[in-house]
Symmetry: C2
Subunit: 372 residues, 2 copies
């Protein structure tokens, strides 16, 4: 009775798993379709006659650029395009410069420029900010620069080659964009939005789990669910996933509920607060297992007020999560704030004779700092 | 007097930063050298006469495979080699099969095989276990399969082409291995080893910082260091870094202190325990800031025993970290265990009239479960 959602929770999980694998199948089929489309360049003779062996670059682009989410695909594609153009342009300059010298001088100039550009671009790739957003572009820059600089071809031939290569890369990119964005798109922004909202639910479950554990009679201890600890840890370790999702979400064009200049960084801030809360819940678990805690029978005395507080806190968490999911201004100021006030009073009434309550106050504080 | 290491800590940090940037410069220079070496295939005429335009694949291999640590380079190189061979072989089979049919049948067979292989390999890439270790190999498999299957060439020409391409890829890989492993190698295993050991130091500093904060007189509050919170969070969010380092470390051959079958998973386990401790320390911070804590003047009464306990705990943490760094069996059973026992007794003596001590016990418990 005290944990009304625990029955429906496995159901939600199964549902989520089904959705995840459906997405995976859709993505795989989309990659297959994109590959077949781009292979047509080879298979249809008139097209192949135009681009020749450069058709290879179209296939390469599709294989390398097509990522799970639309944002990741766009980010890689644009990185690839800019890297190719910059690298090709600079490589051309280096080749022309090297041509001025002849014989061994040519090789020396090419070698030096390859060394300097390669080392400098590699060093810039190690910078965290560049690595996060432009790593792939820098790699393609190095590659294109090298290929163009070393292949000692006359200027007019270079321009023709560059045109063909760029057009095939553009073709591959167009196929990617078409299949990735227009056919059953998988948005990183949706994923970030949903995962952030579901974190509230996860933490609420985790919190209820802790309360249940604390008031459980030790006999049926093996019946206790351990799944919420895993959920709690998944929230705790979500930093890198969130960051890459937010990064991809920024590349995604306007769609659905998300406009341009949508404040994705706010999601990262919320995630940070939720991770701190998850850390708190995890240490609450260690706290409960401590041998310094009072006897189970003694705990029953404070069971009722704690359950009321726990239910309200979990309810507030779910309310916040839902309001984020549905993008509605939640009833925070009208409903939640007085509720938090009463919880705080109730807790300070309880906490004088009780050790563990000290922690719940902090949780409360964390939540209130989060709301205001 | 109470924080003897806080003076030397910034020094250590500057030292570490210097080492980090030295490593980055070394890596960049190595990449530059590798690129020049592999460009020689183009620049030296006799070599170029042998491989022709396929020399491109050698450059591509170096640019794509050369990673920061030796383990990452090896892992990518081996993935690339296996992916190329498997994809090329299967692609050949598909091309030969398609050749049996003529005209439009050929295109249909090639298209179908491209679709099925592409979709299946992409689906397998979404599996977390495969993604972690073989993601790059699967991508190269799809790429090579496609390129070989669509390029409708006679069997004897294919074998010649495959031989040339494989030999240039092998050449590029050899250059990578040579510069990555033999010239100032940067080992992922060293990095994992050092970072695990330094986590102990970070947490010890963080713990001392908490104690100082608790007993500080509010006047000079702005003097308090906030760096340790950042350190604590960096430990908390180290999961994905640790996992990728351990993954690369497994690919690295025997070197220095690390033999074959070195138990890298143990590092992940230690990391997990340390992350839980970091979570505990973070929530200790929230706890200290709670308005429910006693007045600063009242806190001074328990200052001395707490400082003794804190110093011993920090000492134990540093001892453990050092013993891991130097790979010596630490004096755990002889020295640390009785020390922990006395801390525990001291704490239970203190904890009856005091709220916050409840947390320190848990920390103690976490440490003891970690030692035994």
């Amino acid at each position: 009775s005290f944990l009304p959602t625990s029955i429906s929770f496995p159901l939600i999980k199964g549902e989520k798993w089904k959705q995840e694998s459906k997405k995976k199948v859709i993505h795989s089929v989309k990659v297959g379709i994109a590959l077949v489309l781009v292979s047509l360049v080879y298979l249809l003779d008139p097209l192949f006659a135009q681009v020749g062996e450069n058709a290879m670059w179209a296939i390469m682009t599709v294989v390398v650029v097509f990522e799970f989410s639309a944002g990741a695909t766009l980010s890689k594609g644009i990185n690839r395009a800019i890297g190719t153009i910059l690298g090709g342009g600079l490589g051309c300059l280096a080749a022309i410069l090297a041509d001025e010298f002849g014989g061994i001088g040519n090789a020396v100039v090419v070698g030096t420029s390859v060394f300097i550009t390669g080392a400098a671009a590699t060093y810039s790739r190690l910078d965290p900010r560049i690595k996060r957003r432009y790593d792939y572009g820098a790699m393609i820059f190095i590659l294109t620069f090298n290929l163009v600089a070393v292949s000692d071809v006359r200027a007019n031939k270079v321009i023709k080659l560059a045109k063909q290569r760029l057009s095939t890369i553009g073709l591959g990119f167009a196929v990617c964009i078409f299949t990735s964005l227009l056919v059953f798109p998988i948005w990183a922004s949706d994923e970030l939005h949903r995962s952030t909202a579901s974190k509230f639910e996860k933490l609420a479950c985790c919190f209820q789990g802790r309360l249940e554990e604390y008031f459980a009679i030790p006999d049926n201890e093996e019946n206790l669910p351990n799944a919420d600890v895993k959920d709690c840890k998944s929230v705790l370790h979500s930093k890198s996933t969130d960051e890459s999702l937010a990064n991809f979400a920024k590349w995604e064009p306007w769609h659905g509920k998300f406009g341009f200049f949508y404040p994705w960084d706010k999601y990262l801030e919320i995630g940070e607060v939720l991770r701190e809360l998850a850390a708190l819940l995890l240490s609450l678990k260690v706290c409960i297992q401590s041998s310094q805690q009072p006897e189970p029978n003694l705990r029953q005395g404070i069971k009722e007020p704690c359950e009321i507080i726990g239910l309200s806190l979990a309810w507030i968490m779910r309310e916040l999560g839902e309001s984020i999911l549905n993008m509605k201004r939640c009833r925070a100021k009208a409903v939640i704030a007085p509720k938090l006030q009463s919880i705080k009073q109730e807790l300070s009434r309880l906490s004088s004779p009780l050790q563990i309550e000290g922690l719940e106050i902090d949780e409360n504080l964390a939540i209130s700092t989060f709301i205001f």
